[in-house]
Subunit: 118 residues, 4 copies
Amino acid sequence: MAEVNERDRAVFEAGIKLGALYHQFVGMPISLETIDDLERTIEQSVALQPYVRSISVSIDREMVQKKLNPKFKYCELEGRMLNVSLQILYKNTIAQAELVYDEGQDYPLMSVKKIEEM
Amino acid sequence: MAEVNERDRAVFEAGIKLGALYHQFVGMPISLETIDDLERTIEQSVALQPYVRSISVSIDREMVQKKLNPKFKYCELEGRMLNVSLQILYKNTIAQAELVYDEGQDYPLMSVKKIEEM
Amino acid sequence: MAEVNERDRAVFEAGIKLGALYHQFVGMPISLETIDDLERTIEQSVALQPYVRSISVSIDREMVQKKLNPKFKYCELEGRMLNVSLQILYKNTIAQAELVYDEGQDYPLMSVKKIEEM
Amino acid sequence: MAEVNERDRAVFEAGIKLGALYHQFVGMPISLETIDDLERTIEQSVALQPYVRSISVSIDREMVQKKLNPKFKYCELEGRMLNVSLQILYKNTIAQAELVYDEGQDYPLMSVKKIEEM
């Protein structure tokens, strides 16, 4: 049995943030006109949480365009539209993680990309 | 048994929007610095939906201030922090509804305020 | 300008419940094995709310089947999978409303079906 | 810079599940009568997700009791009411994590409790 260390903690926090963001925002009404603002709002909201060093959110405009209801001109934010990259800084460890839509698996995939112990 | 008319429809749509907004946004991380943007984001998101003529969202800064976590300096958006006023226009009928925190009942109260048949 | 009456209120409450349910539950992980329980949980949760006389929720098993991730064998609850019928009783008025996926419009449509003043 | 290993992945997945669960279910209408079922529903929903070995959810009945609206006899599920313990199995590594309300910090605290490399 291993002791929980700084690195575990940094990686764990990265997972929390991505899982939380996903289930908080999926379902939101969105259009091409509101995407920019929504990206900033999600970033700001995640950045408030503990140990977030940086966060960048981009929503797939092409997918939104395709999903727009022809009559009402909006759609709902789906997990597969989200591209997120974030860095957690926990004490001296940086964990970088991302959420990217994996077309092959048709799955919004979350993964740890890099861990730096400074 | 009464036929469903324009007025019913306007009032029904007002209810949908308030119920939806509430459960979409409650739980979001928020601070005094992000309130302004979040108010705009909620307004934009509701305004995209069918028959919304106008919408105004204001979040109670005093409640947010009191709920801020002392260590992490943010809190979660709660239903009682929300003040929302919206107008639905369905054909020739305007229904105005609001969500306001009722302190006496400790309940986020939604109500129809006004109906105008033009 | 018309005064807000019992009927308006019944219809308004029906809208609130459908909008709320939609945005609370969309995004939930779901499989063919958990559908039955989830339907009951949604019903129970809505039935707790003021003025709900009855509620019936059914989730489209065929759509769920099609959306199951081949590797992980689950999918997310989508608005279009939901069939909901509910009755609001406000004083002496019953409003019946439903949420049904409209294939033609590719839209989860909410509508008032019947109003009875007793 | 360290390579991402099995252990990182197990811990990351634990974080995802707790963050997701929190933001999916917070806000749900709940009463003392529906708690048992809701606990099972949350457990089932999390258990569907990749790499979940076990999950146990318990909701604080005392807090729910205190928060019940006196008129309507229900309240909303809050993060602080949730006690969750879960195990992730990723390849040969088990990560155990929990969500427990920390009264001192008035914060729903998520933490990694144990890591076993088998």
